[in-house]
Symmetry: C2
Subunit: 446 residues, 2 copies
């Protein structure tokens, strides 16, 4: 490895917004990898050399040119809220922070076009002015960027209706800057976007995205509590399957998970299991009938106006559940699981008992509402964690492992040839977020 | 049976809008029962004695009082487009035609309140002014009434997203006039509405309905053709399962069914199987990628503006398919089938060949997109028809038999105790649409 000439690089890019002080760079080198004790050990010392915050595509192009010229690694960073070290530079280099590229190009019914650094909640505020909102968003909605969600996220509120980010239609078009000898701007549309969708920024810097929107219903936020966990889980499935009830969030928590939600203590009776939901306000009446059918008890109900003021229930769900639980018990970690069926949920509930506290998020998977899990795991050793994963997989559950920073080892398990081939084209020197794509590493070995 | 004193009855109601001439009464005594050769024989001679067209609830109340006083049967009629003789009076009596009760009480985001005689297309025109539309509607949308759809219908365009009329949430509240000794007005809300939902007007005259609405997307209408029938069917399932594509209609037709659509001849190549779909215009791009994946060919595409002018593709789907086919070959009849799976569709396709031409409508059934069939059957004998039904049922398909006018024998098969008990209360003399509810007939026998 040749030594990188940082003074020259910094000079070349001096007209841009640079961060060079080590504390600043350190802060922008990390994400929420520490949810995993495995990743924590591996990633805590990783740092970039230089952070740059471009304000537009032409500045991105200049950065790309400099990176290629000096063969320095480039890692794109949105808000840095990823959980698997997606934006942590394994081999140092430049960190391209997109947060200043936060222009909304246009919003029209059903579709919008944005720069990658637009924050999701800020976007929705604008979109709601014409009656629309994002189809799906993570629980980091208030801080995370749209580009980061596409680059490293997968599902969130809204997924109970619109499925996953990887589904056809969830992303319509992207502009990407390449790291070829002569960096270019490419536009990918339709199915072509899968080449860069959820690729951890390994094959192109996204500078613009076209995304679909959903009608912005007035969402009522409710908590419903149940005596039995499996009744709560069945209620979640029934709500997911209720075609006559428009909803955005169906999140189920086995006791003692609710005990970690201290801010909501008065709504969460001791020992009870709970559902956190968002329901279109005009569908409250059938929703209440469903609650009655499952002997649930509504303990909390906020109108859309009230909900938009205080803390949204969203911030107790998805991976915020893990965040809140870990703030009380740092020994906790988590898993991401496609149970697919309630039978499997029940089996795991009994099998692991207190070691794996079940937190379900219902989402649409190829058209069907299924229970997915973000179980809280009482961490002991890496071996035991792997044993738990293996057991789930043996029983037919799918695990999207959050304890690896390798793209393919997390979710899809298989190498995505389209993405590897695209990387060959747009990043021939393997400069983008090096070390994250197994398909590329194996190609380098071969 | 005592003789009915028609002169006195007519006198009592003389201030209302009456039709007494036999041709007028005959016309308003029948519906589209003739799609079934079995029902045709049984029902063609049935007639009411008197048609009344009330303009409001208080007139309905007067009619109810007269019916109870004289113990004359009362059959409610909307537009009379039912297919099972739902509104054909088996024992004569008064026909209460709702078409003059066509006031829209209010429309607000997500919900509306209407009188029963409001026509669906007329309603949508109004609702679209504020960006909303009916969640589901039959292919008789232009002529049928909302009250009649609730009283005798079940599914239609929109069902691929919002499920069936019988699903919780599809009907929110009703006001009904009873035929008690002292007729009353009752309001049913929430799950309670199931007491009168799809009851063929046997247990209360609905005078007002509260119904949920859907965001009115701009729907593009398309025809896609395929070489293989099962590819078309799989395409339909995939579209139904595509959470990222907002749609309203997924209708699949095996050749030779398209040959009956003479008005669309130029878009329907000979021997090819076709899909008729409605897609939200902002989702056309992913839709086209899906078409490509299944090697389909788009032969027809109308923008929402164009579609709203000419004949909608809707009027080639659902039971309009049967209507058009029968206009060319009156020997055809049909079945209504829940195949549930494509495997079963394929098996039936091969098993019956030309005798049962497969027409699928995809709809959501408890949260899952499933293929339902309105197969065209080449009718020979009643025995053979029953044999075909039996075979389907033996193979696990559900048949909603359109060859019976008995409520329970059509769809649900089982007696709905809630509905029978409610009838006991609101129609103690069994005057409402007599002879249609098996649960009541058996109770009378016992
Ligand atoms: C408490 C908590 C809750 C969470 N809940 C959810 C959840 O509900 N659902 C979910 O999916 N995730 C969730 N996450 C993970 C994460 O917050 C989201 O995926 C979020 O959308 C990431 O956005 P970001 O801006 O922080 O991206 P970053 O973490 O900055 O980046 C993510 C990845 O995208 C790449 N990237 C970013 N911008 C670009 C670009 N312009 N071009 C190319 N690549 C780019 C980065 O290189 C990185 O690999 C959660 C995380 C936490 C800590
Ligand atoms: C070509 C064709 C296509 C069709 N397509 C579909 C389809 O896609 N989906 C579908 O579900 N159906 C379909 N149908 C059947 C029918 O058109 C619909 O169900 C339609 O909604 C019925 O409305 P209507 O006003 O004609 O009702 P009617 O036929 O007049 O009445 C239907 C039933 O409701 C009762 N009723 C009517 N008004 C009231 C009231 N105010 N109170 C109490 N009871 C009442 C009547 O007594 C009767 O039993 C089709 C029929 C035809 C001929």
């Amino acid at each position: 490895m040749t030594l990188t000439d940082w003074p020259t690089i910094t000079d070349e890019l001096a007209h841009l917004d640079l961060i060079t002080d080590p504390t600043g760079v350190a802060k922008l080198s990390l994400d929420y990898y520490h949810f995993s004790p495995i990743l924590e050990k591996k990633l805590q010392d990783k740092r970039g050399n230089l952070v740059i915050r471009p304000v537009n595509e032409s500045e991105v192009l200049q950065i790309a040119k400099t990176c290629v010229k000096h063969k320095v690694p480039l890692t794109v960073r949105g808000a840095g809220t990823g959980n698997y070290g997606q934006c942590i530079p394994l081999e140092g280099g430049i960190i391209l922070d997109t947060t200043k590229m936060n222009q909304i190009r246009w919003i029209k019914p059903g579709l919008a076009c944005v720069e990658p650094g637009v924050k999701m909640a800020a976007f929705d505020k604008k979109a709601r002015e014409i009656g629309w909102e994002l189809r799906m968003a993570p629980s980091t909605y208030r801080t995370a960027t749209i580009g980061g969600f596409i680059g490293g996220g997968s599902v969130g509120m809204g997924s109970i209706t619109y499925g996953q980010l990887r589904d056809r239609g969830s992303l319509r078009a992207v502009r990407v800057v390449t790291l070829e000898d002569e960096p270019r701007i490419l536009e990918l549309r339709g199915d072509e976007v899968q080449k860069v969708n959820h690729a951890y920024g390994t094959n192109g810097i996204i500078t613009e995205l076209e995304i679909p929107l959903a009608p912005a219903h007035p969402w009522v936020e409710l908590i419903v509590v149940f005596d039995e966990f499996m009744t709560a889980a069945r209620f979640g499935q029934a709500l997911g399957d209720s075609d006559g009830i428009v909803k955005k969030l169906v999140s189920i928590h086995a006791w003692p998970i609710p005990s970690y939600f201290t801010a909501l203590e008065s709504y969460l009776p001791k020992g009870k299991h709970c559902a956190f939901v968002m329901i279109a306000d005009y569908d409250l009446e059938p929703f209440q009938d469903l609650v009655k059918e499952y002997n649930g008890q509504v303990t909390y109900q906020k109108t859309p106006q009230e909900a938009s003021k205080g803390t949204s229930l969203l911030e107790f769900t998805w991976n915020h559940t893990t965040l809140l639980a870990r703030s009380i018990d740092p020994n906790l970690t988590y898993l991401q699981t496609f149970y697919f069926t309630l039978e499997r949920v029940e089996q795991m509930y009994h099998h692991f008992g207190d070691e794996a506290m079940i937190h379900l998020e219902f989402l649409r998977f190829h058209g069907k509402a299924i229970p997915a899990g973000l179980q809280l795991i009482r961490f002991t050793t890496e071996e035991r964690l792997n044993e738990i994963i293996r057991y789930h997989e043996e029983q037919g559950a799918g695990i999207a492992n959050p304890h690896t920073y390798i793209l393919e080892d997390g979710g899809r398990k298989v190498i995505d040839l389209d993405q590897v081939c695209f990387k060959e084209k747009v990043d021939p020197y393997g400069l983008m977020n090096p070390g994250k794509m197994r398909g590329w590493l194996e190609r380098e070995k071969a």
